[in-house]
């Protein structure tokens, strides 16, 4: 498996940033950056990261299983993450999540049939003073109301 030249260059730089012989340290960032490009963590991706970091594929796989942002299956093109932790809860985060689930017609960690959207109820994303908050892919959306979420989703649907 190969990545884009930009990502390969980024990986080379990443591997150099750790002390000599500590290439294993690059495993977590490498998986995240590779997932950003490829979409999800496949077996081939695990083998390539293992090769680059000079560890066994199993050592990479057990890491994938631990971190909640690393996904073995493809997500939607737009991954809608609704925070329902305490600060968002008090400002309607759970109701917002319920609304998103109804509007998209999918439950937690499911993907729409057309592959465009996936939904996840997430833990605190660090937007507590701007609650309730939603992250779509990596973009933060603050002070989200059900209406604002509908508008966001409609816009993304149009952009397809």
């Amino acid at each position: 498996m190969t990545f884009s030249p930009e990502l390969e260059a980024r990986f080379a730089k990443l591997l150099e940033s750790y002390p000599p012989g500590r290439t294993r340290s690059a495993v977590v960032p490498m998986l995240l950056y590779a997932q950003d490009e490829v979409g999800h963590i496949s077996n081939e991706l695990i083998e390539e990261v293992a090769r680059l970091c000079k560890v066994t594929p199993l050592q990479v796989d057990e890491v994938v299983g631990y971190y909640s942002m690393l996904h073995r299956k493809p997500l939607g093109k737009y991954h809608v993450q609704v925070c329902t932790n305490i600060s968002c809860l008090l400002r309607g985060g759970e109701e917002l999540y319920e609304h998103a689930s109804k509007q998209l017609g999918i439950a937690n960690k499911q993907v729409t049939a057309d592959g465009q959207f996936s939904l996840e109820e997430v833990e605190c994303i660090g937007a507590c003073s701007w609650a309730p908050a939603v992250q779509i892919n990596y973009d933060f959306h603050h002070l989200v109301t059900p209406e604002k979420l509908d508008a966001l989703v409609a816009e993304l649907r149009k952009a397809q």
Binding site: R22, L32, D36, S68, L70, E98, N108, E123, C124, C128
Partner: protein, 436 residues
Amino acid sequence: MLYNEPSPLEVKVVTKRFGMPNSHSLDAYLATDGFKAFFKAMQMTPEQIVEEVKISALRGRGGAGFPAGMKWSFVPRTSPKPKYVIINADESEPGTCKDRLLMENDPHQLIEGILIAGRAVDAHKGYIYIRGEYRYLIEHMDRAIAEAYGRGYLGKNIQGTGFDFDLYTHSGAGAYECGEETALLDSIEGKRGIPRMKPPFPAVVGAWQSPTLLNNVETLSAVPAIIRDGGAAFAALGTPKNGGTRMICLSGHINKPGVYELPVGFNLLRMIHEVGGGMRNGKKLKAVVPGGSSCPILKAEECDIPMDFDTLAKIKSMLGSGGTVILDEDTCMVRFALRIMKFYAHESCGWCIPCREGTTWLKRMLERFHSGMGQKSDIPMIGELSKNMLGRTFCALGDAAAMPTISIVEKFPEDFEAHLNGQPCPYAHAAEPVFA
């Protein structure tokens, strides 16, 4: 740049550049006292720098509140192995959103703080561990780091002082546990983030088996001001043994949620009413989470207090991470306790059985209770199960799940009793389902 309208009651030390045009650029930083502290630190001995930080009474802003100067002094002066500075930017304590603002609005202040820390402990490499959810900040910090390299504020022989320092970002990928310093070390070594047995402490055996200084973003962001204006001036802003200011992240049922920099020891009720604009919709205050979800909760009548580490400890809570969450009279405390436990059950790394099993059992019990299926005997059992986690785990996650739960059951028994005998939740949200 993410920022809220400031309050006139703020004392701006670490946030003084927030709101300035291009506050994240090196030029804006240099134009406003930037790197003055670095040059001053280069004229000082490492011992003098550590002493100045001790005088400042700066305490760790990640949540534990450990005196920063003392932590710095634990790093052995001489070491056959290289030493490292690791910056904990894995901000994930529910209710906390300040390190995000510090990196976004003033990345060079953090870089300067890291350089001074490196000089103080004789480290020449640093890693900023940023949570994966803050992906844009990894790019943002990388740009700031590249700018600093380009202008000779990082790299070899910085500004002709003879001091070398290399700085990198490192990404997490979604794990609250990795904010715990020893789990963070495992994570940066490319493994699952699982806590280590202490001692040895990271200052002696840390990343890659080397002495490692680990500090929170806000802690290191305060260092330039301490060195520039003196530790005593910083200490004087707070209360004894609780130096300086703190970024307080106000959230919940108030009119003006936001992140405000206030002197340590600022009165909690004034925070709510004068800084935060009072309770939303004129409702009555019911409770406050003083500093992130791990902290035992305070009842409304306990809130007329100065917010410093020692006062909070005295009333059996914690100042924590600065995530101050305000709850009004319409909040169902069973639902609130359930949401907290759901979080810890999700984030328990599974290494220690009392935490792994305890959080899941408690989550299920609270779920059952909130749906009206609770029994009277469950109320003391929730407290008992929680107490069984206390002190029986490698890291503080088990305690962090137990402490707020114990406090909620003890302080709001009437909310639990109102759910007994199949009664539906008496609060307005009752029609809304609670998600498993």
